[in-house]
């Protein structure tokens, strides 16, 4: 039952769109940072990853602690899922920018950090990316429902939206736990 539910979720079109936007941003961010295009300080949007990559960015706030990391991570998840109310436009933008941020943080971590920091950052990144994809799916589906309501005066939401929201929340909690380790 769980596997069939997951299979259904993976076939959900909003899941594909959410993953494509986030991973596309991540791909672009990684490539730009790898090629030393560091003129846009995207890494600071995910300060947990930026703590290792913040060299040369004067705009970075001077102090971040564990509470700030949790606050930022949670706030980003809220924007991704809550952005659905504006027919998913905010969700799409947030997914792309966060993908860029995560991707552009990675090269410096891989090059200059120790093995344990690399491992911790990569695990966090995987969990956070999964969380954002699922929450993005939920947000986009919610946005589509609002659009549907505007056109047809009837509320219709796919049950897979709830599944993706719950899964996104689970991955978000796991990502926060890794941040606090």
């Amino acid at each position: 039952m769980v596997f069939s539910g997951l299979k259904e979720l993976f076939q959900f079109k909003w899941m594909k769109i959410s993953a494509a936007v986030l991973l596309g941003g991540l791909f672009i961010g990684y490539n730009l940072a790898f090629l030393d295009f560091t003129w846009i300080p995207f890494p600071i949007l995910v300060p947990y990853l930026a703590r290792e990559t913040s060299f040369g960015y004067s705009s970075i706030p001077p102090l971040f602690d564990e509470l700030d990391y949790v606050k930022y991570t949670f706030a980003e998840a809220v924007v991704v899922v809550g952005g659905g109310v504006l027919i998913g436009l905010v969700t799409v933008g947030a997914l792309f920018v966060l993908g860029l941020s995560i991707g552009s943080s990675l090269p410096a971590i891989l090059e200059y950090s120790g093995a344990s920091i690399i491992a911790q950052s990569v695990i966090f990144m995987i969990l956070f990316v999964c969380s954002l994809i699922f929450l993005g799916t939920s947000g986009l589906s919610f946005g589509a429902s609002i659009l549907h309501l505007a056109r047809n005066t009837a509320w219709k939401i796919d049950r897979r939206s709830y599944d993706s929201f719950l899964l996104g929340l689970l991955f978000l909690i796991l990502a926060v736990v890794v941040e606090l380790l």
């Binding site: 940072a33 790898f34 030393d36 060299f55 040369g56 001077p62 090269p107 090059e111």
Partner: protein
Amino acid sequence: MKNIIILIVILLITSSALMPQLNQYASGQAVTKVVVAPPSSPVSLEFKQIAIEVKVVNATYADVMMVAEIVNPSNQTLKYIVEVNAPQPYIPYPFDAGKTIPQSRMEIKVVSEKIGELKVTVDRWGAARATGIIEANGEDLINVEGWTRLAQTSRMIWRESIEGSIGFSIRPETEYVGPVSPEKTEVKVKFTYPVEYTKADEANYKVEYMGGFKVIEYAEEFYSGFRLPLDMYKPRIPVNSLVLFLALWVVLIAIVVWTRTKKVER
């Protein structure tokens, strides 16, 4: 014409009315005199000659040396401070901050020809300081020798750079008394660094090669102090991120090829 005559008359009347007041100001009767004390002449050191040598051995270590011949032109004994400042490293916040500030980032020995070795203190920000005394109308030769750690302050993927500067200073131990014209002397600088590095402004100097090192020599102005900029870089191959970069592109190409093949089959 009539208007002009009226204007001239008005101006004449006005100027004659103001005359008594102007005369008062001129004679100084109505004006309170402000007596300005003559500025106390700041005690300063004079430099007969200064030479600085810095040898960057690798990305984290440099030897430093300074020789200064100083003169006290005043009629009173003068305390002076010799200071060397190490480049500031980046301090990651917040968890590793304590770990990454080393206890001592430089070791400096300061020797005065007249009074011998001076006691040096190094603070946590990497400033080594020694205090000496020079007698009235006296001369002294100060020798500074030691090493300092260097720090990379920005993280480029394809470049390793050494940034920041090393500061040298010899100045009287007096309070700041206001803007004074500083004594300037020419300082001879000899800067040595590994051949694999390129200095940002290398093209401006004549570079000599000596056993795996580049040497540049030039003269600058020394206003009781001098900061030697280190800014240099060398290329690097980013092995770890290159692997992921290639993996991402392989996956992308594989997806494109697979999708294209599938569509052709249809």
